[in-house]
Amino acid sequence: SGGTDTASPQTSAAAGNGGLEKTELKVAALPAIDSAALFVAIDQKLFEKEGLKVTPEVVQSSPEAIPMMLNGEIDAMFGNYVSMFQAHDQGALKLRILAEGSRAAPDSLSIMALPDSPIKSAKDLEGKTINVNVLRNFQELALTQVLKANDVDPAKIKYVAVTFQNIMPAWQKGQLDAAYLGEPMVTAATSSMGARKILDPASGPAAEFPISGYIGTQEWYDKHPKTAAAFQRALHNAAKMMENNREVVANVLPNFTQIDKDTAATVTFPYFSSSDNPVRLQRVADWMLEAKWLTKEIDVKSLMSPTTSG
C-alpha cells in the first residue's frame, strides 16, 4: 500500500494545517469497545499531530448517525459494515470507507449457554432461539458461516432481536436457549453466571472478520481528501499503539462506554486495524450478497482509500 503523501505527522503539523481542507471534525462513535481507536487517538493527541481537532458524538446506533452525516451535522461516523453496505446498496448513502476500525478477535464474541442447558455443542443449536442485537446484521452473518463450517444448518436457528439490557433477563427466564454475546458481556456471563461457551462466531471462515469502520460520504471525501488521509493516519497510528498496550485502551473506555476500569482490565478486546485491507472487507460484502442482503455486488476496494500511514 504505497502512500502518495509520505510526510511525517510532525511535518504536516508544522506546516500549519498541512493544506488540510478542514481541521475540525465531528465524528459519531458508538458507546462500545470497538470505537476505542477514535478515543485513543484523541487521548493520545494523535489527531492533534495531524492538525485535526476531532470531537466525538456518541450515538446509540449507527443507522441513527446516517441522517446526521447526510445533513452535515457530523463529518464521519463509526459504523458496522453490514449496515453501511446495506445503506449503500439501497442508495441511502454514497459510502466512503475512511479507515478500517475493528475486527472480531477470538473470544470477543461468543455463543453461550447457561450451565444447566442441554446445549453442549454447535449441533445442539439447531431449532434453538438465539438473540441478536439487530436482525440481519453482522452477528448473523458471521455465525452463518461458522455454523456451516460446523455442519449445522443455519436456517434452523431462530433469531430474535433483543436489546442489550434485556438479554440477561430474557436468557435467565428461559426465553433464549442460547445467548449471542459480545464483550464485556462474555466475561460477565462467564464469571457471574457460569455460562458455557458453545461456539466462537469469529472462528474458522469468520475468523478476524471485520465488524466496523470509519465511514464518510463519497461527497465529503471528494471535498476533503487530505483531511481524510490525515484522519486515517491518526486512527491507524492509534491502532498501532493499542496493539500491545491494553492500558491505553482501558484508560479511555470509561469515557464513552459503561465499562469501568476493573472490567476493562479483564475483557477481551477486538482487533483494531492499523491498516486498511480491501480483501478481508470484500468477504463481508460477498457473504451479504450470498445471503441476499444486497441487491448487487459491491466492489469494496473502490470505496476505500489507500493506507497512508507508515
Binding site: Q60, P67, P169
Partner: protein, 257 residues
C-alpha cells in the same frame, strides 16, 4: 401510593422477581435520592424538561386554535380529516430518521416529536369539548347579533375549557413520555432518557439507575398534574362549585380535587 411502593418492595424481597433485574423500592428510592444531588443527573433532567416544556407549549398553541377551527367549521374538518387521521397513527420512532435528516438531531428533534405526539389529545378534546356546549347558551349570544367567532370565544371556548384542560393534562404525560423515549431511542448529549439508555447498556445493566430515573420522571408527572389540577380548580371554580353544589349525592363526589 405507599401501598403501591410497598407492594413493589415486597415483590422484590420475596424473590418473586429477580432482584438483579428489578431492584426493590427501597434501593430505587435511595438511588433516586442520590441522583437528586448529582449535578450530572440534574443537567440531564434540566435538558429533558426544556424539551418537554417547549414541545408541550408549542403543541398547545397549535392544537387549541386548530381544534376550535376543526370543531366549528364542518367543511374544514371534512376536508382535512383524511389527512389528520392519516397522520395520527404514524409512530414517532418511524419518523425519527426522517425528522433527523430534515431538521437535525439536537433539541429540535425531541421538540418536534413531542409536539407531534402531544398535539392530538389537546386537539381532540377541544373538538369534542365544542360539541358539548349547550346550544341554548350559544343561541343566546347569537341572538344578540354576535357572529360565529365571537360566540366561539365567549361561549364555546369557556364552556369547553375544562375538557380542553383535561386534554392538556393528558398531553403533559404524552410529552413527557415522548421526550424521554426519544432520548432513549435516539438521544445524544444530555437528557434523562440518555441517562436511562446508558444505564441500560452497562454490564450488568444498572437497573437501579433506570428505575431511579423512572421514579423521577414519574414524580415530575405527578407534580405537574397536581399543579394543573390546582390551576383547574381556580380557573374553573364555577364548574367545581356548580357540580359540587349538590354534593351529598353519594355518587357525585370526587369532584374538584
Amino acid at each position: 401510593m405507599l401501598a403501591f411502593a410497598a407492594l413493589f418492595e415486597a415483590l422484590g424481597r420475596a424473590g418473586l422477581v429477580d432482584i438483579g433485574f428489578l431492584p426493590p423500592t427501597s434501593v430505587i428510592l435511595w438511588r433516586a435520592g442520590e441522583l437528586l444531588v448529582d449535578p450530572a443527573f440534574r443537567a440531564h433532567a434540566a435538558t429533558s424538561m426544556l424539551a418537554w416544556a417547549i414541545g408541550l407549549g408549542a403543541a398547545a398553541l397549535i392544537a387549541v386554535p386548530l381544534g376550535l377551527l376543526l370543531g366549528s367549521v364542518r367543511l374544514i374538518d371534512a376536508a382535512t380529516r383524511a389527512i389528520v387521521e392519516f397522520l395520527r397513527p404514524i409512530p414517532s420512532v418511524a419518523l425519527i430518521p426522517l425528522v433527523a435528516l430534515v431538521i437535525g438531531t439536537g433539541l429540535q428533534l425531541r421538540v418536534t416529536l413531542v409536539i407531534y405526539a402531544s398535539l392530538w389529545p389537546i386537539l381532540y378534546n377541544t373538538m369534542y369539548g365544542l360539541r358539548g356546549v349547550d346550544p341554548v347558551a350559544k343561541e343566546s349570544l347569537r341572538s344578540y347579533g354576535f357572529r360565529a367567532p365571537a360566540v366561539l370565544w365567549w361561549v364555546s371556548l369557556p364552556s369547553a375549557a375544562p375538557f380542553i384542560m383535561t386534554g392538556f393534562r393528558l398531553a403533559t404525560g404524552v410529552a413527557l413520555i415522548l421526550t424521554v423515549s426519544t432520548e432513549i431511542v435516539a438521544g445524544r448529549g444530555e437528557g434523562i432518557g440518555v441517562f436511562i439508555y446508558f444505564a441500560g447498556i452497562a454490564v450488568p445493566a444498572r437497573m437501579d439507575d433506570i428505575m431511579a430515573g423512572v421514579v423521577w420522571v414519574g414524580l415530575f408527572g405527578v407534580v405537574v398534574n397536581a399543579l394543573l389540577v390546582a390551576a383547574e380548580r381556580r380557573l374553573f371554580a364555577w364548574q367545581h362549585a356548580r357540580l359540587g353544589a349538590h354534593a351529598g349525592a353519594p355518587v357525585a363526589v370526587g369532584a374538584g380535587r
